[in-house]
C-alpha cells in the first residue's frame, strides 16, 4: 500500500532537507511519519476522495531537493501587497517584503530562535493528526510560516504569499499557521503557479485561527504547471462576531485538489467560500469544502461556478454540517457549471447534514452548456465565435467574482481572467 518513493525513500529524502541535524525537528518529523505510516494514504473508499482517485499519490516518484532556484517570475496577479516569496516551496527572504506590524516567523526563525513550544504547537494540531497528507506535510516539514496578527491590527495592504515552481520532479511541503487576534482585519492572497511545463508535487497545509470580531479575506490563485500535482488542505477556525471570506480561482495542474474545512465556533459569524474554475487540457480539479457550524446564530455561503473544456474533470463536493443546538444558522450552497466539450466531466456533490431544527439551509447544483441563443446573438453582431464564447464564460463566472468584498483584489482577479 505504501510502497512509494515518498515513503520508501523517506530517510534519504529528509537528509536533503534543512534542519536535519536539529533534534526537535527530527523528532517532529519522525513522529508525524510514524503516524502517517499507521494511517496510510486516503483510502479508495474515503468519501472525501470519491472523485479524485488517490492512486496518484502512491505513484509519484519525486524527491525533495536542496537546490535553490534563482529563477523567479512575477505572479500574474498584479496587486500592491506585502510579499512572502517561495520558489519550489523554499522561502526566499531577499525577495520578500514583510509588514512591520505583524509577527511573521519563518520556520528557520522558529528553529534557530529555539522556539520549541511554538514549533510543536503549529505542527501538532488535531487537524494535522487527522489528515494523512497533513501528516506527510509535517514529516517533511521544512518551509513555512507562523504569522500572528496582534489584537486590533488593521493591515493597510494584503499579504501576498507567492509560491512559484521552477524545478522539475520535486516534492515539496509548505505549512502556514496563521493566528488572527481579536479585532484585526487582514487580506491574505496566495498565488501558486509555474510558467514551465514541469511536473512536481506541491503539498501545502494552511491553518488559520480567527479570534473574535475580526475580518479576514483569504483569496487564492492556482495556476500550477499543467503536469503538476497540487494538493492543498486548509483548516480555518472562526470565533464569535468574525467574518471569513475565502475565494479560490482554480486553473492549472494535472491534479489539483483544494480541501477547505471551516469550523465555526462562535456566534454571529459570517463565512463565505467562493470559488471559480476554468479548466483546459487534461486538468483534474477537485474543490472540496466543509463548513461545520458548532454554534448558533451564524451564516455561511458557498458559491462555486466553473467551466470545464477539452478533456478536463471538475469536482465540487461541498458539505454544510449543523450540530445539534446550533439554531438560527443559515447555510446556503450553490454550484453551477458549464461543460464546454463533449469529453469534459463535471461531478458535483452538495450535502447538508443538519442536526438542529431551526435553521435555514439550502443547496443547489446545475451543469449546463453555453446558451446557443446568446452565442448566436453575439455572433450575429459580428463578434467571432471564440471571443463570443470567452465573453459568455466571463459573464458566467462574474456571478462569483462580484461577491468578493475586496474590490481592488477582485479587479486583479478579473484582469487575470480577461487576459486568458
Amino acid at each position: 500500500m505504501l510502497n512509494n518513493n515518498l515513503v520508501k525513500g523517506y530517510k534519504d529524502n529528509i537528509k536533503s532537507l534543512s534542519f536535519s541535524d536539529n533534534e526537535l525537528v527530527s523528532k517532529i518529523r519522525k513522529n508525524a511519519f510514524t503516524d502517517f505510516i499507521n494511517s496510510g494514504f486516503p483510502k479508495a473508499y474515503d468519501e472525501n476522495w470519491r472523485y479524485t482517485k488517490q492512486k496518484f499519490l502512491k505513484e509519484i516518484n519525486f524527491k525533495t531537493s536542496n537546490h535553490i532556484s534563482e529563477n523567479f517570475i512575477e505572479p500574474e496577479l498584479e496587486i500592491d501587497a506585502y510579499h512572502l516569496v517561495f520558489i519550489d516551496g523554499k522561502f526566499i527572504t531577499k525577495k520578500s517584503i514583510i509588514p512591520n506590524n505583524v509577527e511573521i516567523k519563518s520556520f528557520k526563525n522558529l528553529i534557530e530562535g529555539d522556539d520549541s513550544n511554538l514549533l510543536k504547537k503549529i505542527t501538532n494540531s488535531d487537524f494535522v493528526k487527522s489528515s494523512p497528507l497533513a501528516l506527510l506535510n509535517t514529516a517533511y516539514l521544512e518551509n513555512g510560516f507562523y504569522i500572528n496578527v496582534k489584537k486590533d491590527t488593521i493591515l493597510n495592504k494584503p499579504i501576498h504569499i507567492i509560491n512559484y515552481s521552477d524545478t522539475a520532479d520535486i516534492f515539496y511541503n509548505v505549512k502556514y499557521y496563521i493566528n488572527i487576534e481579536d479585532g484585526s482585519k487582514i487580506d491574505l492572497v496566495e498565488s501558486c503557479y509555474s510558467f514551465k511545463n514541469i511536473s512536481y508535487f506541491n503539498n501545502t497545509v494552511t491553518e488559520i485561527n480567527i479570534a473574535k470580531n475580526a475580518i479576514v479575506n483569504h483569496y487564492k490563485y492556482q495556476n500550477e504547471s499543467k503536469s503538476a500535482y497540487h494538493v492543498c488542505l486548509n483548516k480555518v477556525t472562526i470565533d464569535a462576531d468574525s467574518s471569513y471570506e475565502n475565494f479560490i480561482m482554480q486553473k492549472g495542474g494535472l491534479i489539483a485538489r483544494n480541501e477547505t474545512v471551516i469550523d465555526v465556533i462562535g456566534e454571529n459569524t459570517n463565512t463565505k467560500t467562493l470559488a471559480c474554475y476554468m479548466l483546459k487540457g487534461t486538468t483534474h480539479s477537485d474543490l472540496t469544502t466543509r463548513v461545520n457550524h458548532h454554534t448558533p446564530n451564524a451564516s455561511s455561503e458557498q458559491t462555486v461556478k466553473g467551466v470545464a473544456d477539452d478533456e478536463t474533470k471538475a469536482i465540487f463536493q461541498g458539505k454544510v454540517y449543523v450540530a445539534r443546538g446550533a439554531q438560527k444558522v443559515s447555510g446556503n450552497q450553490l454550484h453551477k457549471s458549464l461543460l464546454l466539450s463533449d469529453k469534459a466531466e463535471i461531478d458535483t456533490k452538495p450535502e447538508l447534514e443538519v442536526y438542529a431544527d431551526d435553521v435555514e439551509c439550502s443547496h443547489g447544483a446545475s451543469i449546463g452548456e453555453l446558451d446557443d441563443k446568446q452565442l448566436f446573438y453575439l455572433r450575429a453582431r459580428g463578434i467571432d465565435e471564440e471571443l463570443a464564447r470567452k465573453m459568455l464564460v466571463e459573464a458566467f463566472l462574474d456571478e462569483v467574482l462580484e461577491k468578493m468584498s475586496n474590490e481592488t483584489l477582485r479587479q486583479a482577479f478579473v484582469s487575470v481572467i480577461k487576459r486568458d
Binding site: 446568446q374 453575439l378 450575429a380 459580428g382
Partner: protein
C-alpha cells in the same frame, strides 16, 4: 440601381420539416421591402436563415449578398459583410455590459472593413450621441445586455445597435411586437433615420400598423414558405381589410 440581395428558390427545413418552399426575392440597394404573413408561415425562419443561425438545413436554392454566396458564410462573417438582424425577442445576456458588447461588435465590423478600431474614449462618444438620439439613457448602456429591459427598451436598444453598426442590410423581425404606440414611434423614427439610397431593409410583420410608420417600397405576402403576392404599400392596407384568407385561400 444595383442588386444587394438575391434569394432564389430557397428551400429550408428544420427537424425534417420543410419551412421555406421555394422562396425568391430580390432587393436592390436603398429599397425597403415588407413581408407580411400569418403566424407559422415561416417568417422567422427566413430571418434566421439569412442571419446564419444553426439548426436550419438548406436543401436547395441560393442567396447572393453583394454578389457573394451568403449561405457559405459564418454568422459573424455575414454580420461583418453588413447583414443585421433586429430580433423579435432580443436575448438577455447577464454579466456582459451593453457598452462592452457594442464596442467588440463595432470593432469586429470595422476591422473587417479595413477601418481603424475605435478606442474606448472615441467609442463612448459615438455611443452616447446615438443613444441620446433614441432617448436611451446612460444607465441602460452600462447594464448587462437586455437584462431587465422592457419590451420597448429592448427594441430601442436593437435600433441603437443598428445605428452604430450601420449595416447595408437590416432585417427587422416583428419590430413592433411588445411595443405601445409611443415606443413604436421612437423605434420607427430611429429606423427611418437610417434609411438612405444605399441601405436596404426587410421589414417582417404580421400587422399593417408598423407599415404606417415605416413605409415600405414593396409589400409581399408570405404564406406556406413562399411569396404568393407582391405589390406596393397599398397591398398592406388591402391585406388589413380583407385578411390573409383572401390571398392565400381558406387554409389560414
Amino acid at each position: 440601381m444595383s442588386v444587394l440581395l438575391e434569394i432564389d428558390n430557397l428551400h429550408a427545413r428544420v427537424d425534417n420539416k420543410e419551412i421555406l418552399k421555394g422562396f425568391s426575392l430580390t432587393i436592390n440597394e436603398g429599397e425597403t421591402h415588407a413581408i407580411m404573413g400569418p403566424n407559422g408561415a415561416g417568417k422567422s425562419t427566413l430571418s434566421y436563415v439569412l442571419a446564419g443561425r444553426e439548426g436550419y438545413e438548406i436543401t436547395s436554392g441560393t442567396v447572393k449578398f453583394k454578389g457573394k454566396n451568403l449561405l457559405s458564410m459564418s454568422i459573424e462573417e455575414r454580420a461583418r459583410e453588413g447583414v443585421f438582424l433586429a430580433m423579435q425577442y432580443p436575448v438577455e445576456i447577464p454579466g456582459v455590459a451593453t457598452s462592452t458588447f457594442l464596442k467588440h461588435s463595432l470593432n469586429s465590423i470595422r476591422k473587417h472593413q479595413g477601418l481603424e478600431e475605435l478606442d474606448t474614449m472615441n467609442f463612448i462618444k459615438v455611443l452616447k450621441q446615438k443613444a441620446s438620439e433614441l432617448g436611451i439613457n446612460q444607465d441602460m448602456i452600462k447594464r448587462p445586455i437586455n437584462v431587465g429591459f422592457s419590451g420597448g427598451e429592448k427594441k430601442r436598444v436593437e435600433t441603437l445597435q443598428m445605428s452604430i453598426l450601420e449595416p447595408s442590410f437590416a432585417i427587422l423581425d416583428e419590430a413592433d411586437s411588445g411595443l405601445d404606440i409611443d415606443a413604436l414611434k421612437v423605434v420607427a423614427g430611429g429606423v427611418n433615420k437610417l434609411r438612405n439610397d444605399k441601405r436596404s431593409m426587410l421589414v417582417i410583420t404580421h400587422y399593417q400598423r408598423l407599415l404606417n410608420y415605416i413605409v415600405p417600397d414593396f409589400v409581399h405576402v408570405f404564406a406556406d414558405g413562399k411569396i404568393v403576392k407582391s405589390g406596393n404599400k397599398d397591398l398592406a392596407l388591402e391585406l388589413e381589410e380583407k385578411g390573409y384568407g383572401e390571398f392565400i385561400g381558406n387554409k389560414y
